[in-house]
Symmetry: C3
Subunit: 154 residues, 3 copies
C-alpha cells in the first residue's frame, strides 16, 4: 500500500519539519511548540517577531495560510493558536485572530474572528458550527481511534 | 496565440493524465473512469482502497482537493463523483460526499454535503444555487458551444 | 531580520514581475498597468485577448486566480479590475466580474458579482462588508502608514 511506503518517509519528514520549526523561530520570531505538527506546505507570515504562536499538540494541515500582516491598519496583529487544535487543509487564519484551546478549523475555512475553546468553525467567513466538543491530541474528536493518527501519519 | 501553442502540448498532457490515472488506481485504489478529465494539479487523497471514485465524462479542474479521510471519526468515508460532473478550480470535496450525476461545483466551493443530480453548488459551505440544469459531457451547460471544449482543451 | 534580507531580493522580484507583465500582455492579451503590483504566484487566465485588465496602483496578492473563461456559456466574459484595488491572497475572481476603483477583496474571497467603488468584499460567495472606504495606492486604507508598504515590500 502507498500509505505504508509513505510512512517510510516519516523520519525524513519529521526531520524537515523540526528544521523548519527552528528556522521559523530563529529567523521569523514565530513560536511553534515542539509537540505541534506542522505540514511542510503550510505558510506562516508573522510580519514581525512574535507575530504567530502555535500551542502544544496542535496540528496545522497542508496548504494552510497564517498571515499576521494587516493591510487595513498597516500593522502586524498577532495570531495565537491554542493547544490541541486542528487547522484543516487549505484554511486561512487572518491577522489578529486567537484560536482558544481545542478548536477545530474545517478544511477551506477562512477565519476572521476569535474562536472560543472547544468549538468547530467552518466556511468563509468561518462560523461556529459546533460547540462543547471534546478532543484529544491534534484536535482529534473523542471517539476517533488510532486510525486518525495513522491516516495523518503523526 | 498562446492557446494554440498550449494545444501543441495536448498529447503530452493526455499521456501524463492517463499515466497518473493508472497510478492512482493501482497504488491508491482510486477509480477514475478513463473518459474523465483530471487536471494534473488536482489532488486525490483516498485514505484507503475504494476511497474515491469518479464517473464517466466528468471534469476535475485545477487545484481541486478530494480528501476522503475523516478526522472526526478516524475513518475513511468514501467520496463518490457521478457522471458528466464539472468540479471547478480550487474547490474541495470533503469526506463522505456523494455528487450525483450532472452536478456542477463552482470554482472555490467547499462541499460538505451530498449534492442531488442536475444541480449547481457554490460557496463555502457549498449550497445549491440552481437545480434541474441540463448538461452534456464534462458538465457543460446546455447551449455551451464548442468554445468550452477548446477553452479547457478537452 | 528576515524581512530585511528578503528586501535585498526586491530588484530581482521587480524585474521578474515586469517581465511577466510584458509576457502576459504580448502572449495573452492581458493588460496590466505598469504601476500595478502583481504577485508572481497569482494566476491570470484570460481565455482570449482582452480577457483581463488591471488598473493603475492596484495590488494583486499571492495565490490569487483570475479566470475569464465561462463554462456555462462557453465564452470568455472579460474581468475588469479598477485602480487602487487590493486583491487579497488566495482570492478568486470569476468570469465577467468588474471591480470598480478602490475595492478591497479580502483574503480567500470568491467574487462572482460586480463590486461597486470604495467597497470591501469578503467571503465565499463574496459579499460587500463595508462601503464608502477611502484608500490610497494599492488599496491601503486611509490611516494605514508606511508599514504596509514595507510589509508588502512595495
Amino acid at each position: 500500500m502507498a500509505i505504508a511506503s509513505l510512512n517510510q518517509l516519516r523520519p525524513l519528514r519529521l526531520f524537515l519539519t523540526g528544521l523548519r520549526r527552528r528556522w521559523l523561530e530563529w529567523r521569523m520570531g514565530i513560536s511553534i511548540d515542539p509537540s505541534a505538527s506542522i505540514s511542510l506546505s503550510s505558510r506562516f507570515i508573522g510580519g514581525q517577531p512574535g507575530g504567530i504562536s502555535v500551542g502544544a499538540d496542535t496540528l496545522v494541515a497542508f496548504k494552510t495560510l497564517l498571515d499576521a500582516r494587516d493591510l487595513a491598519t498597516g500593522t502586524v496583529r498577532p495570531i495565537r493558536i491554542g493547544q490541541r487544535c486542528f487547522i484543516g487543509g487549505g484554511s486561512m487564519i487572518m491577522p489578529g485572530v486567537t484560536l482558544a484551546d481545542e478548536v477545530i478549523v474545517a478544511a477551506g475555512a477562512v477565519v476572521f474572528h476569535d474562536v472560543p475553546a472547544r468549538s468547530i468553525v467552518a466556511g468563509n467567513p468561518a462560523r461556529v458550527v459546533r460547540s462543547d466538543i471534546k478532543v484529544g491530541r491534534f484536535g482529534r474528536l473523542d471517539g476517533a481511534n488510532e486510525n486518525t493518527r495513522r491516516m495523518y501519519k503523526l
